[in-house]
Symmetry: C2
């Protein structure tokens, strides 16, 4: 079966098959598309991939992904951003989600994951000491814990709260509101979400 | 929003976003995965993509995809394959599907698509003259029309049958059987499929 397809094509299928959630059939479809498209489509993708790791680095302060040519994240160095307000997120891409709201003008801190004993991720692997340093250095007044609404995200949020209190750091801490997402019918909301929505109800 | 992510990362996201069925979120997920993985994962994918177009060509006889180093498809040059039996398929990957059954020992002919007036594909864009040449040259006794069970596949099948008859070529022509797929309950089968299954019923 191996030699049914040209080696150059199976190589592309194999390598695309490493992407998350991409099975053999999907990889075949992608590879065949690239083969039928003009060669510069595959070439441009190849070039962008070659420059991926050299062109990107982690911001040493916020751990956001930044251009290799930069010293710190533009979202941190920007003077119009409020450095005393820090949103703590799990992954760099979470920053994009919050920025898209257009409602946040503070800075960010990427933990680099969430506490997950099953995956062998403990608090010591997250960028927590660096967060404590920032709280002191930037005289942070509030941290918004914006970890995911998953078990791991909740554990991480809880750990952070306790850890900061234990360190005797007196700071306002908040957590993103939980409730019914916009456009979702009540009957389809799960009971935990609905419970949170009741608990966090707003007086009109 | 454009400068929220490093340029090298948005480049990869943009290029991956050209793949069929890949939206912005999926492209982000792929790119972020490649960034977190060891650099050689992205590098190997890049290398395979660079070699894709140079490493693959179309077989001049069967129009299957073959290694650039080969003259004709191994499925054609293989002496154990029956050249008097030709399965006519729309696309090169259809060959793989038939080969996976392990039940076919004839050769193949790739049309390079199906007749589709909406997409501007007429019979003159398909490898039909080459098929007629092969029928003569290889003294083909039967062609199995294995186009898709779509409107376009059916039109192409019908066109081929008439075209070959009009040319006065006397040859056995067959079409893949249509019926209930294995593992599917009768109540879920659509009426057209069920109609075909009734029509093509086998005497026990």
């Amino acid at each position: 079966m191996a030699d049914l397809l040209p080696k150059a094509l199976t190589n592309v299928i194999d390598e695309l098959g490493r992407l998350p959630g991409v099975g053999a059939r999907t990889a075949e479809r992608y590879a065949y598309y690239l083969l039928r498209a003009k060669p510069n489509v595959a070439d441009k993708l190849a070039t962008s991939l070659e420059q991926l790791h050299t062109g990107v680095k982690s911001c040493p302060v916020t751990f956001a992904l930044i251009d290799s040519s930069l010293d710190v994240s533009p979202l941190y160095s920007d003077k119009s951003r409020d450095k005393t307000l820090v949103a703590v997120v799990e992954e760099p891409l979470d920053i994009i989600a919050i920025e898209r709201t257009g409602q946040y003008h503070g800075t960010y801190h990427v933990l680099g994951g969430a506490i997950s004993p099953i995956d062998g991720v403990g608090p010591e692997q997250l960028h927590i000491p660096e967060l404590l340093d920032r709280i002191k250095k930037d005289k942070v007044e509030e941290i918004i814990i914006a970890t995911n609404a998953s078990v791991e995200g909740e554990s991480t949020s809880l750990f952070l709260q306790r850890h900061i209190q234990e360190k005797g750091i007196d700071i306002k801490m908040s957590r993103l509101a939980r409730g019914i997402p916009v456009g979702v019918d009540l009957e389809y909301a799960d009971q935990i979400t609905l419970g949170h929505a009741l608990e966090g109800r707003k007086i009109l």
